[in-house]
Symmetry: C2
Subunit: 165 residues, 2 copies
């Protein structure tokens, strides 16, 4: 996966100028990536100017307690779903008092896949002052690769969405 690291680094470096041009702060809500998005963001010196922090909601109890994700939606759609990704993004934005909330929930593998949601399935949520969106991917890598591809997708969605403003 080391060939993906320069892309991850570039994506992490792109979000700072975009956020600062918009005057926005950022918070992250991570499930399958387990903190990797926050780690990549904070590899950039000066990231404390726009990154407030985040929630690693690995267990469903953490999604409910800290991000106000609906127990009904967790039951009906599963933790890896568009409604839960969106609620995680909204939730972390509110919990940390940030302008932008971004989230990621997925199945890194090798365990946990199903026919409908194979290993590599991931949903990314974004909530900004301008609106909300959800993106969906299915990666075809191992645990480490699926985490890194998911984190890159989060950062690239973030940078491109803010640049469009």
């Amino acid at each position: 996966m080391s060939e993906l690291l320069p892309r991850a680094q570039s994506a992490a470096e792109a979000i700072g100028p975009a956020l600062q041009a918009a005057g926005w702060t950022l918070a992250t809500a991570e499930s399958c990536t387990g903190g990797l998005v926050g780690h990549l963001i904070t590899q950039v010196s000066g990231s404390s100017a726009y990154y407030l922090g985040g929630i690693i909601s690995y267990a469903n109890s953490a999604k409910q307690r800290l991000l106000n994700v609906s127990a009904d939606d967790l039951r009906d759609h599963g933790a890896v779903s568009a409604p839960v990704a969106l609620q995680m993004a909204r939730g972390v934005r509110a919990t940390l008092g940030a302008d932008v909330g971004v989230s990621v929930t997925g199945i890194a593998g090798p365990l946990g896949g199903t026919r409908d949601k194979p290993v590599g399935t991931v949903y990314i949520g974004l909530a900004t002052p301008d609106g909300e969106q959800v993106a969906h991917y299915v990666w075809d890598s191992d645990r480490e690769g699926n985490k890194l591809l998911s984190a890159i997708a989060v950062l690239e969605l973030l940078a491109s969405s803010i640049d469009l403003d």
Copy 2:
């Protein structure tokens, strides 16, 4: 820093059996490492059995809002201090409802160092059902290295403290 990755991986793999033998769940509170501890823990397949999640409290506002860190202690001792590390560990344990809370707060650099607290200064807090402790280190590396050394110290403290029970 790639020479440290096997050590980080070993440390992350050691905590699972230790926590599971004790029947304990874990939550993390990270400042300077920005999510790296959670990322390393969740590189291990099956970590969801003991890792509930964590808080990345990069901004002081996040330390207060999510971890109940005292504003007085932040003012009097600074965010990088033993009292704040301990409150972060206690706070994340309570917030996530985990048996064990571990925290890390430090100055990764290259900015932010002072004469009393040079770049590389880090405090690690641990709160378990058996008691509490704080560890203090001063690393002599760059931003990436200071983050990784801090994360390894968190994981190694965790594994050794639980093994002693």
